[in-house]
Symmetry: C2
Subunit: 186 residues, 2 copies
Amino acid sequence: MSMKMVILGLLLERDMHPYEIKLVMKERTMDRMMKLQMGSLYYAVDKLVQERHIEAVEVIHSSDRPDKTIYRITDKGKALFEQLILQQIKKNDLVFHPLYTALAFSRHIDQSKVEKLLEERIRETEHQVNFAYQVYEEHIAIVPRSALHAMYGRYEHSLIELKWLKRLFADVSERKMSDIGTPLDL
Amino acid sequence: MSMKMVILGLLLERDMHPYEIKLVMKERTMDRMMKLQMGSLYYAVDKLVQERHIEAVEVIHSSDRPDKTIYRITDKGKALFEQLILQQIKKNDLVFHPLYTALAFSRHIDQSKVEKLLEERIRETEHQVNFAYQVYEEHIAIVPRSALHAMYGRYEHSLIELKWLKRLFADVSERKMSDIGTPLDL
DNA sequence: CTTATTATAGTCAAATTTGAATAGGGTAGC
DNA sequence: GCTACCCTATTCAAATTTGACTATAATAAG
């Protein structure tokens, strides 16, 4: 559903062809907020056309490249857009962090291997934290606050994750992952 | 892949049938760390059998209930388990938060509706924060630290989200989501 | 006493996602 | 001057997920 939401949201601004939608999404760092696979994008576009939420405006032929089909949002599409946004705010579904599960089981395997990987991951996350903050700073002057909130949110998220990884690393280093009965060192 | 990882991890402890795996996952609050749908569970089990990572031990017939097939992990499965865990720690893939995208577009729609929904969501998240902390506290004495880290991680995550939602609410209330050029109030 | 919900155990069709393939042109490095 | 990778734009088969359905029994609610 969030793919449909994005397509409608961008077509609200101007008519585009699918590949163009992808480019704009990247420009606005939306590829860091959701999964962006071309197969899913084209699939969502087809669905929206079938449902009459968007419609083709024009097909641009080219000798050497595939044809481009430009789409426009319909009134029905505008209504769906509002509904999707509100639904998304309301839903409050859990955010799944793939590492949680892996870590819950990690004590069954060679701790020195886990330790090494965690160390690398901490370094990467440190870069991500810095990068996320930079992205926020660089966009202050040029994007609306709504987008800024998303960017700062990503920064805070990665910061929390970094702290978490460091705690994990400490416990793995001391081979304490299987210990029971003591609270974490926070 | 994380479904396979969990199945292998639990079969490492003892032989089980799929429905039992689901029950144990719920017991250990794993249904809050990953999507848990029976269809996917049975699908993953079938795949693992095909790949010889697990094998059926026994089928229990019952007059009134469906048959239960009990599975056991193979040596090949144990190797895969280690590989999957390490891979997951290494991968460092982005965590997608569905609200980020919705919020980035929310300024296009009626702000009073957004405001109302956000208010509700803040209340819910406050409950989740408390609940997550309780889950952590209640498990200190009874689960290994590896699991505890996951639980405390969930708590911190929800706390950060709450702060984020409150900032959003403030901006939506003051109808500032479309403003450009000023840093967020942090 | 009746109705509703929950637990047990699993299956299946339909919806969706993934990942690779296509194919010509540009460009960066060696 | 060659080779290898990136950009444009889309398609498609195969893998996976979803959500509804089956059917019985036990417990809860009213």
